[in-house]
């Protein structure tokens, strides 16, 4: 049982062993494999049993394995070997085997352990060691290790290379073998320190092949289990570093000298804006004592500049890391500075120059060029070959050419035209080219072909050596002036040759010039009138004051006007003149001169007067004609019509009847009436024909009044009339006596006829003086009067009557008027019903 139990246990162990347990026959076929094969190789034992072991082996391991297995067969030695299998899933599985050959049953019993984990950690270790090895060997610094005895155990490639000794020469030798004695002593001292467990840093300096090398050296102990087993030394060569540091120091010193000697002002600021350096030029420009500024904060020293241009520019430079260049005004010393600021790790370096002069000059230039570009004048800048380099906007406005069109051209080539006086220009040009400033007036042509008169001023510009650099030309448009001058020339040509008088006065009206026509017309020469107002000489007694004040007003307003007035020649002769007065304005609109053109219009005025008289005559005649027509159609035909009717009636009547006799009597009256009208017509026509040709004599008014009174004595006395005659003795007038008689006769007979029934008739006759011009006589009565409104203007018209109940033909007052007018006089009447009538007659003294 015991053996059975043991077998059972043995079987269990095989089954549960983590190692793979198997057996192969002499031909290499697998007889048995434990189930753990599934875990290690991915195959079940049933899949493997009966197969050849090589089916699962890594192909590369096959020869080695075959060799091993062969040696295992027929030996009793236990042997261990390692090979690799391919897992069912394809990855490699390293297995370490123990095999034992059993001669009895020709079987190789094997136990295999999965070495995957072990292999992995092993290869990691190898890799790590290799890495450190490489680091050690290839380290650019020199590395070596000394043991407790002070012998070198390991050296790296850098040390070998540096010392030009082989590794073998170095191993197991003390460091003193390759170090110079002083350095060997230093090394020994530090080695002892390190062996005590301290890390140390020091500098080695020694010569190799005549070259001094400096090493920054670190020695530190390698401690294993609290015991220093060896000392590692790492030495970094810092020869060039030290050299460059020295160089920098030397450079800095040298720079200091340079900074001092450069003409630019210069200072540096550190990151905290503290002055680290200020050169003497900066001292001078900023007017500071540098001793008081070095180490001080710039913005505390220059508080006004804080947030100013400098502040902003420096900050910007520092922030962006880019150099800044700018111009700025420093008020502290009243200078303009050109500043360049270079930011660096240490802060900022600032160079600056005093450019005050330059800025001022440039500002001047800017001002000038602003003036040049904005002025209404044309400005051309040419080179010495007179080719255009620049023109301003004024030039473009004047000529129509733009800068880009004319650059490189010679101005005269495109500005001159057909009527330009080229000869004159050539003369000027020669002067100009010789360097003389010239000014001239010339006719140019605009781009659109329009004529352009220019006043041109050309100034040469010089270079430093007195050579001509170019020319600056300033053009002024004088077209208007030239045109008006030409107009004036033309005008004065016209003025001097015209027959009309021409006067040119200044703005105050004082004569500057008169033409020959004026002298011919007025008799005054230029020398007589120059400086005087024309009106003072020419106006006189009959010159209308209203016209003169109108002229004064127009002159004051400065408007063109025409006036007609009476003037007097030097001889005193009166003449009518038509005056055309035009103001002449200057460019800004103020009156500069007046031009007056005088025309003698006396002849015209006389013709006008004659024409007016003729028109009036004609009108009078026409009006007479109309009255005459009326007279014929009414007053002459009325009695004729009656006569005709009565004659017709008589034929129808019985000759013995009373009506027949009555009709005959009426017919008789009609014929008498007809005769009267014919007589009247005769009278009227006689007066009219005698117009201006009647006999005239000195007529005494009182004599005529007496005659009239005696003629009408009977009716006058009958009605109890009284005459109050206030006409002085001797008042006489040169007139036609019959007419004067007729006038007073008609007045008196009317007074009697139309007297008032309510009071006795009183007639008053008065004369008003005996003036030089004529005589005025009033004839008034206290009769019935008439309605002025109803009478309208008909009172003196032929056959107009205003009383129905009084007999009258309506010819009396017509005759009064006609008689008076024939003698150059006239008559007026005023009347009021119930009060009387007053006639006023005027007779001229011829």
């Amino acid at each position: 049982m015991k053996s059975n139990q043991a077998l059972f246990d043995f079987e269990k162990m095989v089954i549960h062993s983590l190692d793979i347990i198997g057996s192969i026959d002499i031909n290499g076929y697998i007889r048995y494999v434990s189930d753990v094969s599934k875990n290690i190789l991915g195959y079940k034992s049933s899949e493997m049993i009966g197969r050849h072991y090589s089916d699962f082996l890594h192909p590369d391991d096959l020869p080695k394995t075959e060799q091993t297995v062969r040696t295992l067969f027929h030996t009793s030695e236990k042997s261990a070997f390692e090979n690799r299998y391919i897992h069912k899933e394809g990855h490699v599985v390293p297995i370490r085997w123990y095999g034992v050959w059993s001669e009895d049953n020709n079987t190789l019993y094997c136990v295999g352990r999965d070495m995957t984990k072990q292999r992995k950690s092993q290869s990691r270790l190898e890799e790590s060691e290799q890495r450190y090895r490489v680091l050690f060997d290839n380290n650019p610094d020199v590395v070596f290790i000394e043991n407790r005895e002070g012998l070198i155990t390991e050296v790296n490639q850098q040390l070998v290379k540096s010392l030009r000794l082989s590794e073998a020469q170095l191993i197991n030798s003390p460091a003193s073998s390759f170090l110079p004695p002083d350095m060997a002593a230093v090394n020994e001292r530090y080695l002892q320190q390190a062996l005590l467990g301290n890390s140390l840093r020091f500098e080695f300096e020694f010569e190799i092949n005549g070259e001094t090398r400096i090493y920054d050296t670190i020695k530190y102990p390698v401690i294993v289990k609290d015991e220093v087993v060896c000392v590692q030394t790492i030495a970094k060569e810092i020869t060039s570093l030290v050299h460059s540091y020295n160089t920098i120091k030397r450079q800095a010193k040298r720079l200091g000298n340079i900074f001092e000697s450069i003409t630019n002002a210069f200072f540096t600021l550190d990151k905290e804006w503290n002055f680290t350096y200020i050169n003497s030029e900066a001292e001078r420009l900023l007017e500071i004592e540098r001793g008081c500024y070095i180490g001080e904060n710039a913005w505390q020293k220059f508080p006004i500049e804080k947030n100013g241009v400098f502040y902003r520019q420096y900050h910007h430079a520092v922030t962006t890391g880019k150099a800044a260049q700018f111009e700025a005004y420093y008020s502290g010393t009243d200078v303009w500075l050109d500043v360049r600021a270079f930011p660096s790790e240490e802060g900022i370096s600032v160079y600056f120059d005093d450019i005050t002069e330059k800025v001022k000059a440039r500002q001047e230039l800017e001002k000038l060029s602003l003036v040049a570009s904005k002025t209404t004048n044309g400005v051309i800048i040419t080179n010495r070959a007179r080719r255009i380099e620049w023109v301003n906007e004024g030039f473009t406005r004047l000529t129509g050419y733009r800068l880009e069109e004319v650059t490189g051209q010679i101005p005269s080539d495109f500005l001159h035209g057909q009527k330009t006086d080229k000869k004159a220009f050539e003369a000027v040009k020669d002067k100009m080219v010789s360097g003389e400033p010239v000014s001239f007036e010339i006719l140019n042509y605009r781009k659109d072909g329009e004529e352009l008169w220019l006043s041109v001023q050309v100034n040469p510009t010089y270079d430093g050596n007195g050579g001509i650099l170019g020319f600056v030309t300033v053009q002024t448009d004088i077209t208007d002036r030239v045109k008006s001058q030409q107009e004036l020339e033309k005008l004065s040509l016209v003025a001097s040759s015209t027959d009309n008088g021409v006067i040119i006065t200044d703005a105050c009206g004082r004569t500057e010039w008169v033409n020959e026509g004026f002298t011919k017309t007025t008799g005054y020469t230029l020398s007589e009138i120059a400086g005087r107002k024309p009106g003072d000489l020419l106006q006189g007694e009959e010159t209308e004051e209203a016209t003169v004040s109108m002229m004064r007003e127009k002159l004051r307003l400065g408007t063109h006007f025409n006036a007609m007035l009476i003037n007097y020649k030097k001889s005193g002769e009166k003449f009518w003149v038509s005056m055309d007065i035009t103001p002449v304005y200057d460019a800004i609109g103020t009156v500069r001169q007046f031009i007056a053109i005088l025309k003698d219009i006396t002849f015209r005025k006389e013709a006008e007067t004659n024409l007016l008289k003729m028109t009036q005559d004609l009108y009078a005649k026409n009006s007479d004609q109309q009255q005459f027509t009326y007279l014929v159609s009414h007053n002459l035909r009325a009695p004729v019509a009656n006569a005709m009717g009565l004659a017709n009636l008589l034929t129808k009547l019985n000759k013995d009847s009373e009506l027949y006799d009555k009709s005959l009597s009426v017919l008789n009256q009609s014929i008498t009436q007809l005769d009267n009208v014919l007589k009247d017509i005769n009278t009227i026509l006689t007066i009219r024909d005698s117009n201006g040709n009647m006999d005239q004599e000195q007529v005494s008014i009182n004599t005529v009044i007496d005659q009239v009174l005696s003629s009408l004595q009977e009716p006058f006395q009958k009605c109890g009339g009284a005459l109050v005659n206030c006409v002085e003795e001797g008042v006489s007038v040169k007139a036609n006596k019959a007419y004067v008689y007729s006038i007073f006769y008609n007045f008196l007979s009317n007074a009697i006829k139309y007297r008032s029934e309510e009071r006795p008739l009183v007639v008053r006759i008065k004369s008003f003086g005996n003036t030089a011009k004529g005589i005025l006589i009033s004839f008034s009565d206290n009769g019935s009067g008439f309605d002025m409104k109803k009478a309208n203007n008909n009172i003196f018209k032929l056959y107009k009557r205003f009383h129905v109940d009084k007999k009258g033909r309506g010819i009396g007052l017509y005759l009064v008027k006609t008689h008076l007018e024939a003698m150059g006089g006239h008559v007026e009447v005023t009347s009021k019903i119930g009060f009387g009538t007053r006639f006023l007659i005027y007779l001229p003294k011829i």
Binding site: T629, A638, G645, L646
Partner: protein, 138 residues
Amino acid sequence: MKIFIIDDDHLSIFLSKNMLIMEDATLDIKTFLSGAKALDALFASDEDSIPEVMFLDLNMPIMDGWGFLDALAPLKCRLRERCSIYILTSSLDTSDTARLQDYPFVTGLIHKPIKSEDIDIIFSFQKSKAKSLVLLGF
């Protein structure tokens, strides 16, 4: 038939009046030497005393024929149907004829002296007018 003659010339009135009476002795003729007097009579008259025919001279002192016609304006409506106005003038002036256009209520213009034929036409017109008035229900 009632007739007015307005004329400042008494010779003309004598002639006109007798010529009318020669045609019809029954005529009721009133004569006026001025327009003013005729107007007084017209304004004073009632419907029955308004004349059927009026002869008006133009050339008169103070108020001429035209003035008279103007003064008639207030009576125009009353006169239009009842009264035929004839201008009786010696004037041959065409301007007078032309001026008649302004007075449409004037029936006609007769040049002096008035003739039997004129009177015949006037009377026959008056008769036809009276007839038409009757027809119209007046």
